[in-house]
Amino acid sequence: MVLAVLQGVSELFPVSSLGHTVLLPALLRWHIDEGSESFLAFVVVLHLGTALALIVFYREDWVRIVRALVTTIVRGKITDDRDERTAWLLVVATIPVGVLGVLLQSPVKQLFASPLPVSAFLFFNGFVMLLGEWLRRRQHARAGHPYKRLEGLAFADGVFVGFAQALALLPGISRSGSAIVAGLLRDLRHEDAARYSFLLATPVILAAGVLEFPKLFTPAAHDVLLEACAGGVLAGVTAYASVAFLTRWFRHNDLTPFAWYCIVAGAGSFILFATKVIA
């Protein structure tokens, strides 16, 4: 249940859910076999719960986006309509993370999913968010440099955000954090960058859950199905609360507190693991 809450919160907060899933059990000396069929089934349900929460939260947006997507395909043209542009900005940004995710996830996880590199990446994640905030402030300190609305982004900007999001394949780098920073560097306000990041998260997390769906039907998974379902509901509820909180937060605040959290947590964990205080 702790892992379910952790997934629901850290998947959307810009602090890396994958990083926390590696670091927290190691810090608390939990012995979890992350390769076991029962654990994988548990993770699948957590992902589905989180994706469902995002769909429910943005249900009106998703109805408009899907309708706009179908309309553009039937018509054979993308107009300047807000929903049509948002729909295709989501598509172009999902392609890099989808392709790189499927091709690189396993090798990257095998290489880096141990506490020491994860701590370093978490520190780096915080540093990148601080750097992103600094660059954005410098960019907009110049008079007359306008902010864009989400639908005002060029499709090339969407691809840029998609590649930034793919950095989160490295455990410790936050998907939402890197996507928000990329959005800020493309002149979005925090509110729009966060909305883009959360809308982008939905197909990615949903695909991660659906593609692994067969793992729910293994004999080992059958034993933990009840716990997994409870975990999925808990992850969904916490994800809903997280996205509700974060959308309000980014109306008037920035990434700085999350960046400092990642820097302190990353550096602290790195020291603990490097000095073998925690083996």
Partner: protein, 57 residues
């Protein structure tokens, strides 16, 4: 561009089949890789559709 979209769609379709039959690098059946290739093929078909509609206009 219209022809490129069509060629890419066919290429991704072939890659998907090769992944599903286990004849593409890395060795073995890769269902998820195949699904991504099919999605890319579909997107290329949509791209082709946009190009065709633009030509008609």
């Amino acid at each position: 561009m219209k022809q490129l979209a069509l060629v890419l769609a066919v290429v991704f379709l072939i890659i998907a089949v090769l992944y599903w039959t286990g004849h593409f690098y890395p060795a073995g059946v890769h269902t998820k890789h195949g699904i991504v290739a099919i999605v890319l093929a579909l997107l290329c078909i949509v791209w082709y559709r946009f190009q065709s509609a633009a030509n008609v206009r």
